[in-house]
């Protein structure tokens, strides 16, 4: 009560405190306004929660949650608990596995187990599936008595401790395994983290994605800065026309723009015909389905994201600053770099950050024109979502991408200061 009185009293003439009743009304009014404000943004909050935070939370969860093996072979896993990790597990464990495999084969879920184990140890799925197929025909009594021997006979891999360690490791419901894979790491026999023995691809892909994004940012900057300058300093009639030319591609469908690049770049496309017609080359150049195609098409598509913030910042710069610098004796080029350029930095950082972050997660254009060379990390994430059905790995790769962007933004904030961004 006293706290409210003190707070509210600042609004009142000196020497007069609120009566108890007035304070109550004031508080009720304040609460009502808060409630109204909250209700006005509720639809947006619900929408963001539903369409943004919930999917991200699901993705983060999925990247560490893999219950498949634990659900498929609970009995084998329970018996494996007592195994010391050296040599082969007891015959009892092997027999239980054989019984489990027969059950999976008749339920038609042995493929699921094979897939899950294969992610832990490449090449395992063939052992699981061929063994399951063989055991399906064996009688239950025979399997109970002689399961271990039948299992070892069906495939050599069952005799390797490595495979059993994989079974135990993939049996954990919560796991950091997919993050390790996404970083080209794995656990060795003792459980220590080491570089993955199979192909290492993801770290390289992340750095390639960053490199492509950086090149695109620099290219859009080199192309966009002079353009924005002309736009901001031309008479309005010309400026409007130029602006329409910048915006026109922006309004055209992304797919149309990307496919028109296919028409331009392909072996018998426009550019090659012109080059060969003029006599620059005798053989058609290979441009489509390369990293070059990804970079050039994305530079074109993302150019407006650089031009628009630069333009709006440049538009707000008073031309008298430059005139003053020149009339005080500076030469045009130093005047530009010391007076004009620093004032465009907020627009420049906004444009660069926008283009960089958009291109790091870009998907359609590399998928269509990039071939195998020009693929970026988002294409691999899509691949694991749609083709290999490894949603856990896709989620881990996506989470890492998110972390990477947040880290970059943090570094940017420390170096440049996020407050310096100006979109308009």
């Amino acid at each position: 009560m006293t706290a409210t009185t003190v707070q509210d009293s600042s609004l009142l003439p000196a020497g007069r405190a609120l009566t108890r009743e007035e304070a109550w009304f004031a508080r009720r009014e304040l609460n009502r306004r808060r409630l109204t404000a909250f209700m006005l943004v509720t639809p947006l909050l619900l929408f963001i929660g539903f369409a943004f935070f919930a999917p991200i939370a699901t993705m983060l969860h999925r990247s560490v949650y893999s219950p498949t093996v634990a659900q498929l072979i609970p009995d084998t896993l329970a018996e494996l608990q007592s195994w010391d990790g050296q040599g082969l597990p007891d015959r009892a464990v092997l027999t239980t596995m054989a019984v489990d495999l027969k059950r999976l084969a008749s339920e038609r879920t042995s493929g699921k187990l094979g897939e899950a184990l294969n992610r832990g140890l490449p090449g395992t799925s063939s052992a699981v599936k061929s063994t399951a197929r063989k055991l399906r025909r064996v009688e239950d009594t025979e399997l109970g008595a002689n399961g271990a021997a039948l299992l070892l006979e069906a495939n050599d891999r069952w005799a390797t401790p490595e495979l059993w360690r994989t079974v135990r490791a993939t049996g954990q419901i919560y796991t950091e395994r997919y993050f390790l894979t996404a970083l080209d790491l794995e656990r060795d026999a003792e459980g220590a983290v080491q570089v993955r023995e199979a192909a290492q691809i993801y770290v390289q892909l992340y750095s390639k994605t960053m490199r492509i994004a950086l090149i695109i940012t620099i290219l859009t900057l080199l192309l966009g800065y002079p353009l924005a300058y002309v736009l901001a300093n031309s008479p309005s009639r010309i400026a409007n026309l130029l602006m329409v030319m910048v915006l026109l591609p922006f309004w055209t469908s992304l797919l149309v723009r990307t496919t028109s690049w296919i028409a331009l770049l392909q072996t018998n496309g426009v550019i090659n015909s012109v080059l060969m017609g003029v006599g620059v080359t005798s053989e058609p150049l290979e441009m489509l389905f390369t990293e070059f195609a990804t970079i050039i098409a994305m530079t074109h598509i993302l150019l407006p994201f650089m031009v628009l913030p630069l333009y709006s910042v440049m538009k707000g710069i008073d031309p008298s600053y430059m005139r003053a610098a020149l009339s005080l004796g500076s030469r045009p080029i130093p005047a530009f770099f010391r007076v004009y350029f620093p004032m465009t930095l907020p627009g420049l950082s906004a444009g660069a950050l926008l283009v960089f972050i958009i291109s790091v997660g870009y998907y359609i254009t590399p998928a269509l024109v990039g071939g195998t060379d020009g693929q970026m990390i988002s294409n691999i994430i899509a691949f694991h979502m749609q083709q290999s059905n490894n949603w856990e790995l896709a989620a881990a790769l996506g989470s890492l991408l998110l972390a990477l962007i947040i880290a970059l933004y943090w570094i940017y904030d420390r170096l440049v200061g996020a407050g310096n961004i100006k979109l308009g």
Binding site: G111, L205, T372, F383, N389
Partner: protein, 351 residues
């Protein structure tokens, strides 16, 4: 007033419910010339006869999309045309319904279905054979230059035949061919490929033409790549090239050496809400007459009674005429190794 509201509401409900009752059946196949033949001989006659509506969509093969639908419990496809090289895997992973044999119609000559179908067409309980087809490679006599390729070895010989080669972006068939080109006998290919050394050998052979490879996803891209000069030699389903030669008069030639022959089947996605109608469609589409229509694109019929209806002029173009120089695609091998070789193949692509 209340009564009118009630009636109006009931009418709206009835309108909304009507399309929900008459469910559309979704059939999925490979598009292009093959899809057109299926539309003409299976989909359209079925719709005309039963009045049902069938949505006919394209996909590019493989089991990933079916798997995603089944695992997510969101079944959008009812009937799917699957290559037998993928069928065993899809069936053993529980992605397909079992199709009872007793619903299949007898042949036009009255022979019971079990005897009328070739055994391979009914070998897997999840599918009913639609066509015999084969994977070959083709070239255009316009772009190949002087000497013409005739073996799988030539496909891998970039010194003798410079230029791009196009292959479908998946391990199946490509690894078999790589081993054959590396000197493995056709009847030992799958034994060699089931060992780690054999797999390494196949990838090493693919490495030798890596820079000259163009990848495509769908068979319909194969004749197109050959046509627009995207590649000088193109792996293809035989019917696609046959269609380009016959319908468009293209100067393409097929190389049948070590062709990998296979079947396509109609299969039903596990858990479809339209199971009865899907079975009804499969029953209709695997009758003698619809099946014999597949000869439009040089694919062989899967019923003995259908063989009688094949135009004698095209028997030389059917895969059945080239089985001696071919290799049977091993669906069981790919059921066991599809997962691990698929992953290796993709890592190889990204290296």
């Amino acid at each position: 007033m209340k009564l009118t509201n009630l009636l109006a509401g009931a009418a709206v409900l009835a309108l909304m419910a009507a399309p929900a009752l008459a469910q559309d059946l979704t059939a999925v196949s490979f598009g292009g010339a093959y899809g057109a033949a299926q539309k003409e001989h299976m989909i359209d006659p079925y719709m005309a006869e039963t009045g049902a509506k069938v949505l006919f969509e394209d996909y590019s093969g493989g089991i990933a999309e079916i798997k995603a639908q089944v695992e997510a419990g969101n079944i959008q496809w009812d009937v799917v045309d699957i290559e037998v090289i993928d069928l065993e895997r899809a069936c053993s992973e529980g992605l397909l319904e079992v199709i009872p044999r007793d619903i299949l119609p007898a042949g036009d000559d009255g022979v019971a279905a079990e005897d009328d179908f070739f055994p391979a067409a009914l070998a897997n309980e999840c599918g009913v054979g639609v066509i015999f087809w084969s994977i070959i490679y083709a070239y255009s006599s316009e772009t190949i230059g002087g000497e013409e390729p005739s073996t799988i070895g030539d496909f891998f010989d970039t010194a003798k035949f410079p230029g791009k080669r196009a292959m479908r972006k998946r391990p199946q068939v490509n690894l078999e061919w790589a081993l054959i080109a590396d000197g493995v006998a056709a009847n030992e290919v799958y034994d060699v490929l089931s060992t780690d050394e054999g797999q390494a050998r196949a990838f090493a052979k693919l490495d030798t033409i890596r820079d000259d490879l163009v990848w495509f996803d769908s068979w319909s891209q194969a004749p197109q790549l050959l046509n627009d000069g995207g590649a000088v030699m193109v792996q293809s389903a035989n019917g696609r090239i046959f269609g380009a030669i016959k319908d468009d008069g293209r100067p393409f030639k097929m190389v049948w050496d070590n062709n990998v022959f296979d079947l396509d089947v109609w299969a039903i996605v596990k858990g479809t809400p339209n199971l009865d109608q899907a079975l009804d469609f499969v029953k209709f589409a695997t009758g003698t007459k619809p099946l014999s229509g597949m000869q439009d694109v040089a694919y062989g019929p899967t019923r003995r009674s259908g063989s009688a209806l094949v135009d004698p002029a095209i028997t030389e173009d059917l895969p059945t005429a080239h089985i001696d120089e071919g290799l049977k695609a091993d669906g069981i091998f790919w059921a066991d190794f599809g997962e691990s070789l698929g992953e290796k193949f993709n890592e190889w692509l990204l290296k």
